[in-house]
Amino acid sequence: MSHVSIQVGNRADVHYLLRIADACLILSQRLGEWCGHAPILEEDLALSNMALDLVGQARGLLTRAGQLDGQGFDEDQLAFLRDERQYFNPVLMELPNSADGAGRQPGDFALTQLRNFGVATWLQLLWAALEESRDVEVAAIAAKAVKEARYHQQHAADWVVRLGDGTADSSARMQAALVVLWPYFNELFVDDEVSTAAAAQGLGPTWGDLKSDWQAQMDEVLADAQLKPPKPSAYVPAGRLGIHSEHLGHLLAEMQYLQRAYPGGKW
């Protein structure tokens, strides 16, 4: 495998799939940071397990995106050899595990679980819709992934409720995490030509299609957790256009290091 940076083409279906694949990949990277640092051993397991499921989902979609892109890129080239501006995950996924951006480990468990809940709720709806994709490979990936996402959603929901309706301290931490993450959720549902084209060709739903169900499930759990949704924010991140936060570059420097430093390596 060469080590030189690659660039994907402009096909809407490729970008649509990469937006999902990168969401899984980058969140997986963040969750892996918890390994060995969680508040209880069961969560070391659960967070690693979720990271593992997300890597699996990313692999399937990256492979499929590479096929559609037609330049012969495999999952690893796509995962490790793009430049930052060619990653298309929503910014939400790349935010550090703690709100103030400081501290790789252990991070803020409240923010981690709340993000997991928001993302798993979104992915669970998305995978369910993708099961109907005209692209049979995507549909097959979705059929497996939807079960994983349901489990992730349930697990994270339990924590959101437990912490939101736990002690005064835990509730305050959850509410603070909600304020931090709220504007980043915006990005999940913003449509553009990529998602409308995908919908038109039967590849998958528009992002906007998932919004009302997501909102309903979110509202229900936040209510159970006694958390108040903050006021809407006018900030809409543009990670799906490759415009990220300052955090992604640091994450990629680590993630890509071996591929970059050992050109031609076999692993």
Partner: protein
């Protein structure tokens, strides 16, 4: 004393002891110490490997590593559960770890410096662990023996995966990769041999444990078995081990090998290894930083219980 005699007779007959059975206090204590130490090793062992999750070189290797580290956490879980059948709690055991009273395997006080370390840990460290643990599948205390059967099965899988990843680098990799593998073997070889513990003549706990059927094979015998099993694998791989005295002994049908640096062994066991302070500090920090989470979970459970009663 009659109970003790009956117990000794059962052990002598090769019977398995269950948690509900009567057992001498010293037998119980020995097992709690050993099983909890083993559990602690699994969770501390997640740290040196976890150090490479963010940098795994391919998605397949990342997935394998995540699965492996997760398995180790799982081993920790059911080893803690096995120890709990002996009347201790996980919190008590963790307390002993965090306060420095309980030990964990000293091998995890060495750092993982390159990606090849991950493969070499699978091959040598898990390999040595399996060599130590297979006899424990016949340990006289049944819950521990059952846990070890599962642990050994998964460890063997990890060991093969580790070896396979090294094989890929040595067969198909670049010169830089091959050098990385050899370097990792150089650094992990001696610490792996130390995993079998002190020489038999210096091993204080061994004799009683042997008699009780907790330990079945001596440290030196296990170490020899490990060397004999591993050197041919090294040859297939195309790496050497950093021991000028290593050679095949046709007479004994075993490999002779050089002297272990026991001063280093005792230094690292005693707290002055490269990562001792950090490993423990990391675990303590994770535990302390997570206190609010555990408190919240408890508070929520109480609220739920109250609500259920009220309803």
């Amino acid at each position: 004393a009659r109970k003790e005699a009956a117990f000794e007779a059962r052990i002598a007959a090769g019977d398995f002891i269950e948690a509900k059975d009567w057992m001498p206090e010293h037998y119980r204590k020995t097992l709690v110490r050993q099983i909890s130490q083993h559990a602690h090793s699994e969770i501390v062992g997640m740290l040196p490997e976890g150090n490479w999750i963010s940098r795994a070189p391919t998605l397949k290797r990342k997935a394998i590593l995540l699965a492996k580290v997760q398995d180790e956490g799982g081993h920790g879980l059911y080893l803690y559960a096995a120890a709990e059948t002996l009347g201790t709690s996980r919190d008590q055991m963790l307390d002993a770890l965090h306060s420095g009273k309980a030990k964990y395997s000293s091998i995890f006080n060495y750092p993982t410096l390159t990606w090849a370390d991950i493969g070499v840990i699978g091959w040598l460290v898990d390999g040595a662990a399996i060599m130590n643990q297979v006899p424990l599948c016949r340990c006289s205390f049944a819950p521990y023996a059952r846990a070890m059967i599962r642990v050994c099965r998964e460890e063997s899988f990890h060991q093969r995966q580790g070896y396979e990843s090294l094989l890929v680098m040595m067969r198909d990799g670049t010169e830089a990769q091959k050098a990385m593998v050899q370097d990792a073997v150089n650094r992990w070889w001696w610490p792996s041999l130390m995993m079998f513990g002190p020489a038999d003549k210096d091993s204080s706990n061994s004799e009683q444990s042997m008699r009780w059927g907790i330990k079945r094979i001596s440290n030196d015998d296990l170490r020899q078995k490990f060397v004999d099993a591993t050197i041919p694998q090294a040859e297939v791989l195309g790496v050497t081990v950093p021991d000028a005295d290593l050679k095949w002994n046709a007479e004994t049908g075993q490999y002779d090998f050089g002297a272990i640096d026991w001063a280093e062994f005792w230094r690292v066991v005693g707290g002055d290894g490269p990562c001792n302070r950090e490993r423990l500090a990391t675990r303590v920090k994770a535990w302390d930083d997570g206190a609010w989470v555990r408190e919240a979970a408890l508070a929520h459970a109480k609220k739920q219980a109250t609500r259920a009663q009220a309803a």
